[in-house]
Symmetry: C2
Subunit: 277 residues, 2 copies
DNA sequence: TCAAAAGTGTTGGGGGTACACCCATGC
DNA sequence: GCATGGGTGTACCCCCAACACTTTTGA
């Protein structure tokens, strides 16, 4: 593809963008070519001739964290246009040479300071043409699971980052509210099909915290006795034979502590199961 | 971003691609800049400065079709480089101005000649850096559900298109085998959680066909009596009170015909359910 | 006449669901 | 002492799973 095509397309983007009227001037010939390109955009040829290398990629990370009581996601405050000052998901633009998942994992590393291979997964691409005022930027959204105790304070304060409960997410920049909504749906399904506690809970936790997590994630309440029966039957839990001293947030002093059975856990993660209560 | 950055990136792509040794020459300065860009690609800055508008998008469509006996997907034969002659999924490059889902739907329309709003959904982005030898092309894969009786013969023969049973998919171009695998997993989950028969079966069908579909999609076998009990309980089926004349493929002459109860169907699609047998 | 699919009921067991009271801790 | 959460057992019922034979049709 020649450079001419590239320039024409850039023009098309500007015409569609809110910046058009103020920032771009067109000659009649430009407008005519522009119209031609719009027409092409409407028509479908199968298979089409050539790739159009004029798109940018970004990735956003929906980080779910559980502090022992509430399920939260991590938000940042934008320090740059086009949404300066607005809240948004931790995000970055990708170089055209970067892997999608790897890039999300590296962003995770930058945020939390440790590698987390098992729980960074792609959600899907969010690609509304006008989601980004600066041209076509397709966002490949990912999500991750952490305990909220993991964080790097300096980095965070620098970028205005903080946790927000999932049912109190405010208006976000771009289409990030849609991404959060989709991520919540995905988490709900995942909680139902695979165990997630390992990734979200501290090493030692109480059954109250575990139930709390499931209730917040699935937006339901469960019967305490039935919940416990179900979990005990699954062999996922190891009774640590000691009681909480009440220091963990969301832990009632005196309640029994548990941890996960790693083998049973990874088995269920592989085979899948059904958490229906 | 200036044009300089664009050119540099194009260079990077070529260096990584298999075509590098034969098709591109570099000055020492170019190589030095190139190295710099590679380094940048390895480092993560949060948030990053500017979008890199040097990526192309394509979409592939995994079309699941059920002919009454087998669950199949639609393949095409490539008539152009870089995989001339190879089998692949119906695919096209996107203009930077095109919507993702809309583009997939339009491709569907081109293939089948009708609008199909309910069953074209995004799978996810497939973006391995080297999946396409011609530069960075990220594929936003979608899937769709049809009955195999729907097709446009001329278009199809022109592009070497044909149905292949899902358990007999050969080696495909690009990373399309991975896309098919992912689509099958998604379909399996979807069959379990939402009714899919409306989209895959003819208007009137036999219980044998329905069971066949579920068995092929979930890669399991079911007990005939239990399967029927389950379906009858669900109120999804309408007994049409007539028998097949054996003309429909996969229909045994004399077996009873059913259709779907649209209200119950859309209700279950909305609420979700569990098909466990 | 033979092979292939259609159609039809019963039983047992596991697990989901509903339900109430006493104890320990912190304020 | 009062509120909040921790911890425990039983009974019912529904639904999943296993199982076999007769009838119809087409080759």
């Amino acid at each position: 593809m020649g450079m001419q095509g590239t320039l024409q397309f850039t023009t098309v983007v500007h015409m569609f963008s809110p910046l058009f009227c103020t920032s771009v001037c067109h000659t009649i010939a430009q407008v005519r070519r522009l119209f031609y390109f719009c027409q092409m955009g409407e028509m479908i040829h199968f298979p089409q001739e050539e790739p159009d290398h004029n798109v940018a990629l970004s990735t956003s990370l929906v980080v779910f964290g559980f502090d022992g009581v509430d399920l939260k996601i991590l938000l940042a405050k934008s320090s740059r246009p086009p949404f300066e000052g607005a809240l948004f998901l931790p995000s970055r633009y990708l170089k055209a040479s970067e892997e999608l998942l790897l890039s999300a994992k590296k962003m995770f590393f930058d945020l939390f300071g440790y590698e987390n291979p098992s729980t960074v997964e792609q959600l899907r691409a969010f690609g509304q043409v006008f989601r980004h005022p600066g041209g076509r930027v397709v966002n490949i959204a990912h999500y991750a699971l952490v305990h909220t105790s993991d964080f790097l304070t300096e980095q965070w304060e620098q970028h205005g980052m903080h946790w927000v409960a999932v049912n109190e997410v405010p208006d976000l920049a771009f289409d990030h509210n849609a991404i959060v909504g989709y991520a919540l749906e995905r988490l709900k399904r995942r909680v139902r099909r695979r165990p997630v506690g390992f990734d979200l809970l501290p090493k030692e936790f109480t059954l109250g915290q575990l139930q709390n997590l499931y209730e917040k994630a699935m937006d339901k309440t469960f019967d305490k006795r039935n919940f416990r029966k179900k979990l005990f039957k699954s062999k996922l839990l190891i009774d640590l034979d000691k009681k909480s001293d009440g220091s963990g947030y969301g832990q009632h002093k005196g309640s029994l502590l548990f941890s996960f059975n790693a083998e049973a856990y990874s088995m269920m993660k592989l085979k899948g199961y059904d958490f229906v209560l």
